[in-house]
């Protein structure tokens, strides 16, 4: 086919200019490819972190607001006389009736409640060690599916069920079980209660997970209230899921009206509370990445357009000659567009290679990032940190977009050149008019 022969010769003989456009496109595509993949990786890492830290199936978390006078719901544990104390995580509780009220809200699809306690155990006398704390979560087994326990993975034993609502049973985190030599069937003591371990679970560190889960009714009998009173009819946290993502805002407003003294924490709040190097990377990826991508895109298109127009400008006589010897405008334009398209294809292919190289470089050199989530009073207080390894991957949509970008930029350049070509008259073959 003559057009292909012509195309091949043109690209070969104008190799320097074609190479310049190809390299420009390749760098542009490669940068966009790498930036997008990195930005996606950062976003994915943040999602993973949020999921890991508090992705417990709930859209909103309701907790009692800590009393402003500093009085906390805690007391020394009775019974063993060892100095161990129990306190409500966050220091405040809600009445269980609030859970039913929340469940009745129109846009709420799921509710779960729990009573999270912290057991502080003093170190052995004279050891010089610091006191140890154990997070104990009394979960409502009649409302499964939300909360840290729902996010845990069964390692051994059996899961808690509704029939365990008043049973002296416990679920133990695998790390805690290892440290305390516990297994399914072992007995674990919480205050004066001896509970049978029925399940060992794996949980991600920093997920707000407890070391010991026990039925809510058992937790409410523990002496963790003021003056060692029990917490009958009390919960510390209510996990709420909205019917749809669009309903979250509505539910948030309804909850604020229903429980004005409670603290609400949404996934968005959690995302806002993420700090550390991951947060910095996210900001960098979103802000610098976006501007870098836009800048490179514009530069790429502009370079391709200018060089292609310059090329057509130099070929005025040549293209005019083709028209003079009977080539139609369409054929001449198709030839110019085909040259641009071919340059775009090569630029895209090279750009993808550059992009893969860039992604490999990011994966090889990216430092380990840390994410710190300030859980705030609404999520039980304190903060959780996680180390995150950034893994950039090329997804097919990014790949397709990058290829389309290169070809699109080249064709945009070709279209402008073609427009200029279409205005050429065959008389241009003769040079200046007399």
């Amino acid at each position: 086919m003559f057009a292909l022969t012509y195309l091949r010769h043109e690209l070969r003989h104008r190799a320097r200019q074609a190479t310049l456009v190809i390299v420009g496109l390749a760098i542009g595509v490669g940068l966009v490819f790498t930036t997008t993949a990195t930005s996606t990786a950062v976003s994915n890492a943040q999602s993973t972190v949020l999921h890991t830290l508090d992705r417990i199936g709930a859209d909103l978390t309701v907790t009692a607001r800590t009393p402003s006078d500093g009085s906390r719901t805690s007391a020394p544990a009775a019974g063993d006389g060892s100095g161990t104390s129990l306190s409500v995580d966050g220091g405040a509780v809600l009445d269980s009736s609030a859970v039913d009220a929340v469940a009745r809200l129109a846009h709420v699809s799921g509710v779960a409640d729990s009573l999270v306690l912290t057991e502080i155990s003093p170190p052995p006398a004279g050891s010089g060690a610091i006191p140890t704390s154990t997070r104990i979560d009394g979960i409502d087994v009649t409302r499964p599916g939300l909360g840290p326990y729902a996010a845990a993975t069964l390692r051994s034993g059996r899961s808690l069920s509704r029939s365990d609502a008043h049973a002296d049973v416990a679920v133990v985190d695998s790390r805690y079980a290892t440290a305390h030599h516990l297994g399914t069937g072992s007995m674990v003591t919480v205050d004066e209660f001896r509970l049978k371990v029925v399940e060992i679970v794996d949980q991600t560190a920093g997920s707000g997970a407890a070391s010991i889960y026990l039925p809510l009714a058992i937790a409410q009998r523990l002496p963790a209230g003021p003056s060692s009173s029990t917490l009958a009819g009390k919960v510390s946290t209510i996990y709420v899921s909205a019917s749809t993502a669009a309903d979250i805002g509505t539910v948030e407003k309804e909850l604020a009206a229903l429980l004005p003294s409670a603290t609400l924490t949404s996934s968005r709040d959690l995302a806002d509370a993420v700090s550390g190097s991951l947060d910095s990377a996210t900001t960098l990826a979103h802000e610098l990445g976006t501007w870098l991508t836009v800048g490179v895109l514009l530069a790429t298109v502009a370079t391709a357009v200018l060089l292609t127009l310059a090329s057509v400008g130099r070929r005025t006589r040549e293209l005019g000659t083709l028209k003079a010897i009977g080539w139609t405008s369409h054929r001449v334009i198709a030839q110019v567009m085909a040259e641009s398209g071919a340059v775009g294809l090569v630029g895209a292919a090279l750009g993808v290679a550059v992009g893969y190289a860039g992604i490999s470089l990011v994966n090889a050199t990216a430092p380990s990032l840390t994410a710190t989530v300030d859980r705030g009073p609404g999520a039980g207080g304190g903060s959780s940190s996680l180390a995150v390894h950034l893994t950039a991957r090329a997804d097919p949509s990014t790949l397709a977009a990058a290829i389309l970008l290169a070809i699109g930029a080249a064709l945009a350049a070709g279209a402008l050149a073609a427009w200029r070509t279409s205005r050429l008259r065959p008389a241009h073959a003769l040079g200046d008019l007399e």
Binding site: Y6, S329, A427, E434
Partner: protein
């Protein structure tokens, strides 16, 4: 056969309207060799463009075998240029990235000639102008005279009825000029086509059957047959 009646051509320029051709009447018979002579800026190239269907007159008609080129669509003019008119340019106008034979092939592309036949005809045309051994060379590897021969081969490969040559020897030395003129003469005699040649050179114009002289956009036909035989 060409019949030009009342042709005028004006261009707009910064300084106002420039009239390149003024009320030109001309008849060119089939198989005639006509030289159009004139100084630079006299309007001879403009006249050639009108004859070649590359431009339209401001007024008047350019009739080629019963068709008024001024009234045809761009598509129809393109078709006429592709099939019936061959062009030879002063600066050769070869595609610099294509070989000699590929340059000749380019003229057959609009005719949708199959690739093998196209290459065959192009090779024959290259051989006919004495460049069989240079068929694969790029224009930059050829001398001026050789490039013009390729240009002539390109014009002739589609077997046109009319050959329009714009200062075909303008960029050549005297010896090469004579070679090219001899080649054109031979082609004109052999192929029986109409040859219209624009030149400012009297020595070139003298080779034609008839000479028309352009002066300030007006055309005068020389009264005597100056053809040298």
């Amino acid at each position: 056969m060409y019949t030009l009646t009342g042709i005028s051509k004006s261009f707009r320029s910064r300084g106002g309207t420039v009239t390149a051709l003024h009320d030109v009447d001309l008849f060119i018979a089939d198989g005639e060799w006509l030289a159009i002579q004139g100084r630079t800026g006299s309007g001879k190239s403009t006249l050639l463009q009108l004859l070649g269907g590359m431009d339209r007159p401001t007024t008047g008609s350019v009739n080629l075998d019963g068709q008024d080129l001024a009234a045809l669509s761009e598509r129809e003019l393109t078709q006429i240029r592709a099939t019936r008119i061959g062009f030879v340019f002063q600066t050769f106008n070869l595609i610099p990235t294509l070989s000699a034979v590929e340059n000749v092939e380019a003229a057959l592309v609009p005719l949708r000639t199959p690739a093998a036949r196209r290459r065959g005809r192009a090779t024959e045309a290259i051989a006919a102008v004495g460049l069989a051994d240079r068929a694969g060379h790029l224009p930059s590897e050829l001398s001026g005279g050789q490039q013009q021969r390729v240009g002539i081969a390109r014009a002739l490969v589609k077997e046109p009825k009319v050959l329009l040559a714009d200062e075909p020897t303008g960029n050549l030395d005297v010896d090469t000029r004579d070679e090219i003129l001899s080649l054109l003469d031979q082609i004109w005699r052999t192929n029986g086509l109409t040859l219209i040649l624009v030149t400012h050179d009297s020595a070139v114009a003298e080779r034609a059957e008839r000479t028309a002289v352009m002066h300030d956009g007006a055309l005068t036909i020389k009264p005597t047959d100056t053809r040298i035989g």
